[in-house]
């Protein structure tokens, strides 16, 4: 018996379209288009796919492989992109994160990454390499400011799930906290971030 499941999902109703960006429109136009049409879309979105994969996998080669799969998938499934639901950027990041996490949860990638952490994280006194990454990479970004609006425990749980590619169950194990507690921290943390970033789809 397997506990990996493929979930049947039924048909749904679309919400009315909102304003779109040129990249959104260009991606939507790829559906049924020629490969030439994809060039500008690639240029606009590949850095987001690669950046997402790199944060999760922390290995340039793995990240490049994932980014390649993602960008090909973006082309192949452009017809399913719905500008009313998300920007093209968010859509691509969602796809990239899903693929990167699939990979990081495979044992070999996990071992590679943990070894990389051991190799590179030579700072003494347990300074958190993940938190450091947040500080450096998000310098000046709105999400950085908004992360400061979270409680310490909310921030810790969200960051660990995001950068660690962990399930909240694994986050709970790692932090030695109760499962419902960690679930709440992640939920409340993302809600605060949502409100702080002004994300509102009405």
């Amino acid at each position: 018996m397997s506990i990996d499941l493929v979930c049947p999902v039924g048909h749904t109703v679309r919400v009315p379209p909102s304003e779109t960006t040129p990249v959104d429109d260009a991606l939507a136009a790829c559906a049924g288009g020629t490969p030439d049409a994809f060039g500008p879309v690639y240029d606009a979105l590949a850095p987001a796919a690669y950046g997402t994969a790199l944060r999760v996998l922390r290995d340039p080669d793995h990240a490049a492989e994932v980014a390649q799969e993602v960008m090909v998938e973006v082309w192949q499934t452009a017809a399913t992109y719905d500008p009313a639901r998300a920007s093209a950027r968010t859509w691509v990041i969602t796809l990239a994160r899903r693929r990167a996490i699939d990979r990081v949860r495979a044992e070999q990638a996990r071992r590679d990454r943990d070894q990389r952490d051991l190799d590179t994280n030579v700072t003494p006194s347990g300074h958190d390499v993940v938190a450091e990454d947040v500080e450096q990479r998000l310098e000046g970004a709105a999400v950085r400011r908004c992360l400061d609006s979270l409680t310490g425990t909310q921030r810790e749980a969200v960051v660990d799930a995001y950068y660690g590619g962990r399930t909240y169950r694994e986050v709970a194990e790692r932090l030695g906290a109760a499962l419902p507690t960690v679930k709440s921290r992640i939920r409340d943390g993302l809600i605060r971030l949502r409100d702080c970033l002004g994300v509102n789809h009405g």
């Binding site: 018996m1 017809a79 719905d82 969602t94 949860r105 799930a161 995001y162 971030l193 949502r194 994300v199």
Partner: protein, 261 residues
């Protein structure tokens, strides 16, 4: 099921972070399929998660690789290219996961992913009111005083109004139940098929946070076995078939999970 809907809503932020296991993913996707408000909430959380992304210039050769694969069109199957529209982000909400992996030798197959134990619990166990079958009995295979103590404990458990009974079919055959009263668990199974030489049933205690610890090997007689666990910290029990002598941690999927929440 107001509870499971509530749980699914609770899980939406973790789902947006890909921080859920496969069973929870299904729970959330059922909600998404049924509720436009949930999809809107998910889209907002995904935008939050996307805000973490720092764009990074990919290697220059990546562009050539992608553009040449697209030009060849060799990787696009008709199903993929036709763009099945389910309105729920096909290709990103999990239901096309296996189709997407086909022809993608770099993506780790699902079968290779880590087993996550304790997740089947919510789906596998049915919580029923206290209706303890009077046939639940302690087998006379223990010393008399120990037996008397167990009988007393079981009698107290049965009298406990907060006690719950969880029952489930066992994969492969048989039925299992557990009576939960405070920190005491009475496990009972019947009609279990013989697992054969070289294998054994092993009982596991499922912790509140999903971890499992061995609660000993089970040696059914005529397919029936009972086990009383007293003063334990767990939300339920699970049984798996392990190599002879048992395992430190489960090495196979459980044949039954009986757990609350």
């Amino acid at each position: 099921m107001a509870d499971s809907t509530h749980d699914a809503w609770d899980l939406l932020p973790a789902y947006a972070l890909d921080a859920v296991d496969d069973l929870e993913r299904c729970t959330v996707e059922r909600l998404l399929a049924a509720d436009p408000a949930a999809r809107r909430a998910l889209d907002e959380y995904r935008e939050v998660v996307a805000a973490f992304t720092v764009d990074t210039t990919p290697p220059a050769e990546l562009r050539d690789a992608v553009m040449s694969r697209i030009a060849q069109g060799s990787t696009a199957t008709p199903a993929e290219r036709s763009g099945v529209d389910d309105g729920a982000w096909s290709g990103s909400d999990g239901e096309t996961r296996s189709a997407r992996s086909a022809g993608d030798e770099n993506v780790v197959p699902l079968a290779g992913r880590r087993r996550r134990w304790g997740l089947v619990a919510a789906a596998a166990a049915a919580v029923v009111a206290v209706a303890v079958p009077t046939t639940v009995a302690i087998r006379a295979t223990v010393e008399q005083d120990q037996l008397q103590q167990q009988v007393d404990t079981v009698a107290q458990m049965m009298a406990d109004p907060s006690a719950t009974l969880l029952r489930s079919e066992v994969a492969g055959g048989g039925q299992a139940s557990v009576l939960v009263a405070g920190e005491d668990l009475l496990f009972s199974a019947s009609d279990l098929p013989d697992v054969g030489a070289g294998s054994t049933y092993q009982l596991w205690l499922v912790g509140a946070e999903g971890g499992v610890t061995s609660a000993g090997l089970l040696d059914p007689e005529d397919g029936a076995v009972e086990r009383l666990l007293q003063g334990v910290d767990g939300v339920g029990l699970a049984v798996s078939v392990e190599p002879e002598g048992g395992s430190q941690q489960p090495t196979t999927d459980p044949v039954v999970v009986l757990a609350q929440g």
